[in-house]
């Protein structure tokens, strides 16, 4: 930054105090009572936004540690996104940048926060309408088309089962699918590793259901590929019934 004007040096002392009222000195000539208005408004604004997005993470950490973590967010993180609704995503970035051990967070904590954030982001994600989808066509012959809001998630912990009473002790590889259905509701589906792989294949390449399942049977070196294909087609049909697959394209 170029050399600062006098009023800017004052502004930086002002915001330094807002970011860290416990350690930064009060400003000369500014009544504490008045400064406290800003300290409270600015922190509470951030704190409420973060807390609303991460209800489970907040509970598993406990009140005091959650507060302390948010104070560190206020103090150490420089937000670069002007949109207020981006705060939860920036909080996750802050967690990822934390030096390990600094806040002594549980090993599953960032995954849990990410899982909670996905729900919010899928709810508001911009989705373009997909044209020329045949809703009732055969999923084996056509290319299955997924709901544009769908995301595949892969975590080291069973984040969807975490609660205050159930904190994971061990990693447990977990695959989830999240999407917004036709009624704009966010839904999560737990997947097994094979289904996860099947959907990944279909997402990454323009394959028909049958082509993707043949690839999958090869990968698995299954002695009876046809049984994998039959089984896989029933899974795809089930995903269509749930609204994850909206139809096929040629």
């Amino acid at each position: 930054m170029a050399e600062l004007a006098g009023f800017q040096r004052y502004q930086l002392a002002f915001t330094a105090r807002l970011r860290d009222p416990q350690n930064q000195p009060p400003l000369a000539g500014v009544p504490d009572e008045r400064m406290a208005v800003y300290e409270e408004i600015v922190f509470n604004n951030l704190f409420e936004s973060v807390s609303a997005c991460f209800p489970v993470a907040r509970k598993v950490l406990g009140k005091r540690r959650w507060l302390k973590l948010n104070q560190a967010f206020m103090r150490d993180y420089s937000a670069n996104n002007p949109l207020f609704r981006s705060i939860p995503a920036q909080f996750i970035e802050f967690l990822r940048l934390l030096e390990p051990g600094l806040q002594q967070l549980p090993p599953y904590f960032i995954s849990l926060c990410h899982y909670e954030w996905v729900e919010l982001s899928v709810a508001s994600a911009e989705t373009a309408a997909i044209k020329e989808v045949q809703t009732a066509a055969d999923l084996g012959h056509g290319r299955p088309v997924f709901s544009p809001s769908m995301q595949l998630l892969n975590y080291e912990y069973a984040v969807h089962r975490i609660s205050l009473r159930h904190k994971p002790r061990q990693p447990e590889s977990t695959q989830l699918l999240v999407f917004r259905n036709a009624d704009d509701h966010v839904k999560f589906i737990e997947l097994n590793a094979v289904t996860y792989r099947l959907i990944s294949l279909l997402q990454n390449d323009p394959l028909s259901g049958r082509q993707a399942l043949t690839l999958l049977a090869n990968e698995l070196q299954h002695p009876q590929p046809e049984s994998i294909i039959e089984f896989g087609l029933s899974i795809l049909e089930d995903l269509r019934n749930q609204g994850v697959i909206i139809g096929t394209q040629d």
Binding site: V37, S78, L83
Partner: protein, 298 residues
């Protein structure tokens, strides 16, 4: 799809909570005094398909104005030009003719980034700050290709380094930037209590010919000499008196009710909007319809 001369009469700050009520009562007598609505672009840019559908509904039916939150006209970080281009695209996409921002800052350039603090902080009233802010307003107007309005902000801390009064600062910035004034009546009152000045004397020094539109709102009385601008209460009588005085001085200008917290049902808000309309009808002077268009053209 609004033109600038349609920004007239009385309006409402659009909150998501109010949308279903407005949609169900649209076109009916109780809402007759919603002549225009205001949105914060930060809440609607890239906000998803549901929000886009809602906004489409409104721009087809009401003139819409944009009142920004995050531009940080007085902030030490560089003006966020990328964001400003997003705003420009947004204004064009929805044919929104007016964009205003606060005479405040919300960034500190921390760690070489913008350092958004997501709240409106007070700019010290110094000569250097006048030039700095005016230059950033000019830069904003150049990018948008139109004049913007700046709003007199509420604040709680007077910078000990200030070299002039708030009204001198506002006038100097507006003159140097050649921009418009988005007059917040409640903020004049809040600051008059917080810093002990006469709000009516302040009003008399406002450049009335530059008012694009105005805000009315309520505030929270934390102590007898500390008011916090929450937009969460009803408008109080001294603020109504100020509005009446302003219409007497400058002619009735477009005025909009802001309610951001503790939001009551729409019919309760309509009482306050109807009351603004009553003051406008009572005003001896009215601005001609072309006034705003002339303002924007400069």
């Amino acid at each position: 799809m609004a033109t600038i001369s349609q920004i007239q009469g009385t309006g409402l700050g659009l909150k998501r909570e109010l949308i279903p009520q407005i949609q169900s009562l649209y076109g009916q007598e109780p809402l007759a005094n919603i002549h225009f609505v205001e949105i914060a672009p930060e809440n609607w840019i890239n906000a998803g398909s549901k929000a886009a559908r809602q906004l489409d509904w409104f721009v087809e039916r009401y003139p819409v104005v944009c009142h920004g939150l995050c531009l940080s006209l007085g902030g030490p970080s560089p003006l966020n030009v990328d964001f400003l281009h997003q705003v420009k695209t947004f204004l064009r996409q929805y044919k929104i003719p007016v964009y205003t921002e606060h005479l405040s800052y919300c960034t500190d350039g921390f760690k070489g980034k913008q350092g958004y603090l997501y709240d409106l902080l007070p700019i010290p009233f110094t000569e250097e700050a006048v030039h700095y802010v005016a230059q950033r307003i000019r830069q904003t107007q150049d990018i948008l290709g139109q004049r913007i309005g700046v709003e007199n902000a509420s604040f709680y801390v007077a910078a000990p380094i200030s070299e002039m009064s708030e009204i001198d600062f506002i006038n100097a910035v507006i003159t140097e930037a050649d921009c418009l004034l988005h007059l917040d009546i409640n903020n004049i009152y809040v600051n008059s209590v917080n810093f002990g000045f006469d709000p009516h004397a302040f009003l008399r020094r406002i450049p009335g010919e530059r008012i694009i539109y105005s805000h009315m709102a309520g505030h929270y009385r934390q102590t007898p000499n500390l008011l916090v601008d929450t937009h969460g209460e009803n408008v109080i009588d001294p603020v109504w008196d100020l509005l009446e005085d302003a219409y007497r001085l400058f002619g009735a200008f477009p005025t909009l009710l802001e309610r951001d917290n503790n939001i009551p049902p729409l019919d309760v808000l309509m009482h306050e909007i109807d009351k603004i309309a009553g003051y406008q009808n009572k005003a001896a002077k009215h601005r001609p319809a072309a006034f705003a268009a002339e303002l924007m053209a400069g």
